[in-house]
Symmetry: C2
Subunit: 385 residues, 2 copies
């Protein structure tokens, strides 16, 4: 096991009807800016519920944070906060709204050009406004971590930052809030959580049996409950397990003390930035090809994955590994997420722009061995056609 | 899944040589009281390492915190703090030293009789001195939770309290510090961690698949590494996994949203208070008898435990359950912890004093169904002879 540091102070408040707890969780004297995405937060009644729970506090609203939240949008929220004097933020939505709120919270206190928050990966952040979240979409884990991914529209750059000061103070997870989600968002959420686990698990054996069994447990749970979450949207227990699994998939716990990969995410980010695919779609496309490309280095862990997650015990390590990759692809397809570039009408002509952008963004030594060069990334994209 | 709240702000700093991080983790201007147990902290050099890492800070020492830490001892530390003006505590040791430090931290700020902290279960606590820990013994999980168990010698009472203010600010886990532990402490630590998991897992199915796979993963890991930790004390990776497993066994994570039992602990506490057995010995004695006594209510989960943890797939649920209980007893014995009262020279004559004490301490409705009366506890003790 590698040395590590683990710290995660976010308070999770989990269960049906828990939005009323906002009154306990946010200081009485706070002036609160509520950040949200599209009109669904209003239409489903969640926003009304939130406003009611906040009682007599002064509140403001900032809507319109889009999927793959944009720098250009978020700096408007920063301006509104400075002008109207909010001292507490509340994100109501999924990972995009929460990621956006993290950036806003850090940018309000930031001296200089706030894009530097992202170019420095968070290193230049010193503090952030306190904030909490009401999660409506299980997927990204942003509700219990310190990471945020923001897109700059002007340059088509998708950049991440991390900082201890942007852990949410609390996150309210009410599984009932997921009942009305479109199936596509559930499909995407399951695939996103699944690949989050894979990026922290599927590298090489590192004498970390607890991290392995936890990761395998999350994967097996997603394989079991993912299709059920699509088939029976109002099954509380299924949605509750999905919500908690997605949170645990990226709250830092399973990634401590082990090598991590994240190359699939980096190649995927380019697909979103350049061609607008959903984040989960890009992961479903890239992961199987990446695993095949890196088979020599990943074979031992892939064989373990085949045995422990998929119950594949026959054949050589290589055969087990290949079968597990195929089962992974089939799982994504079963979750209604297509796994080929051609399924999204993208062909050979997208490859060079993707590689150019990847290179421009400095993504030239990816993976747990830092050996995935643009040349190898090109092979992965080509294999994903 | 039941509703829950999860909050755990303790920072874990894990790995060989991490004691030097104390200089970063404790405020420069702090006046630090170091609390420890017996002379081993001095003999092994750990105390010197700690003092060196603290550099020029003002420090004081409070040694002599015993296993099953005593109220009578700890109030002396409270007096020393008040007289000498420490504003930061550092526990160096295992669960007893950490539990004791939690009580001291809360008692320093407490108005009135500090025993009320324990009779109120922590409800009367309002704040505590900040503190960190250097863990030397993997077992109790106290390094990453808000619980503490204290014994009052005068009345032979063993009482617990919990409060958010006594989460350690940080805990340093250096697996190398466990290399010199006596085998008995490793044996006890593995059994203690194992039963911590069982108390949160072995109740009835509650539609919480993630909590189940995590608990099963911790149990399987302990079954695998426990005997190896005894056989090869200097195997860093084994000790590292043991240390992290024991922490995760009782940091609140696997117990969220599920029913919990804890009756084995309550019956065990009486055995320690009255007859001085090691905490883990009492758990190894009580658990198998308790599981047999509660077989009707626990059968479904015991069968799941048999399948998922022990790989027992043949027979009826009852047969699987009974086989799993027997395998559990064998595991404790393999870990060199005896599982019968008679192994500790205790006979029929201890039963009534135990029941009297249990009743006096209000432990009259134990278990996940609150249906373990003194009469049932008597049957469990008798079955443990």
């Amino acid at each position: 096991m590698n040395n590590f540091e683990f710290y995660n102070p976010t308070r999770i408040v989990f269960g049906e009807g828990k939005i009323v707890e906002l009154n306990r969780l946010i200081p009485k004297e706070a002036k609160v800016l509520i950040l949200f995405g599209g009109e669904s937060a209003r239409k489903t009644g969640t926003l009304d519920e939130v406003e009611k729970a906040l009682g007599h506090r002064q509140i403001g609203l900032f809507g319109g944070i889009e999927a793959n939240p944009r720098y250009e949008t978020l700096i408007k929220a920063v301006e509104q906060i400075k002008q109207e004097g909010y001292d507490y933020l509340l994100a109501v939505g999924g990972g995009s709204v929460i990621d956006g709120t993290k950036f806003v919270a850090a940018a309000v206190n930031f001296e200089g050009d706030s894009w530097d928050i992202l170019t420095s990966g968070g290193a230049k952040v010193t503090s952030a406004l306190p904030f909490g979240t009401v999660l409506t979409l299980p997927a990204t884990g942003s509700e219990m971590n310190k990471g945020s991914v923001i897109t700059r529209e002007a340059t088509q750059s998708k950049r991440a930052f991390m900082h201890d000061s942007v852990y949410p103070q609390f996150s309210i997870l009410d599984p009932v809030k997921t009942f009305t989600l479109p199936p596509r968002q559930i499909s995407n959420g399951v695939v996103d959580a699944f690949v989050h686990v894979m990026e922290q698990y599927l590298t090489y054996p590192a004498n970390a049996p607890v991290q392995d069994v936890f990761a395998e447990g999350l994967l097996k749970t997603l394989i079991d409950i993912g299709p059920k979450a699509l088939a029976t949207p109002h099954d509380y227990d299924i949605r509750a397990s999905l919500m908690w699994t997605a949170t645990l998939a990226l709250n830092g716990l399973i990634g401590v003390g082990v090598p991590q990969d994240w190359s699939t995410h980096m190649l995927g980010h380019e697909l979103t930035a350049l061609y607008g695919l959903d984040h989960a779609q890009t992961l479903a496309i890239v992961l199987p090809s990446m695993l095949i490309e890196k088979l020599p280095q990943k074979q031992a862990k892939l064989a373990q994955y085949a045995e422990q997650v998929w119950g594949v015990h026959d054949g050589s390590d290589k055969q087990k590994a290949l079968q597990a990759i195929e089962l992974t692809r089939e799982f994504f397809e079963r979750m209604q997420v297509k796994t080929r570039l051609s399924d999204y009408n993208l062909g050979q002509d997208v490859i060079e722009p993707l590689i150019e952008s990847l290179t421009k963004n400095g993504m030239t030594a990816l993976g747990e061995h830092h050996d995935i060069t643009p040349e190898i990334s090109r092979r992965v994209y080509v294999a994903s056609l």
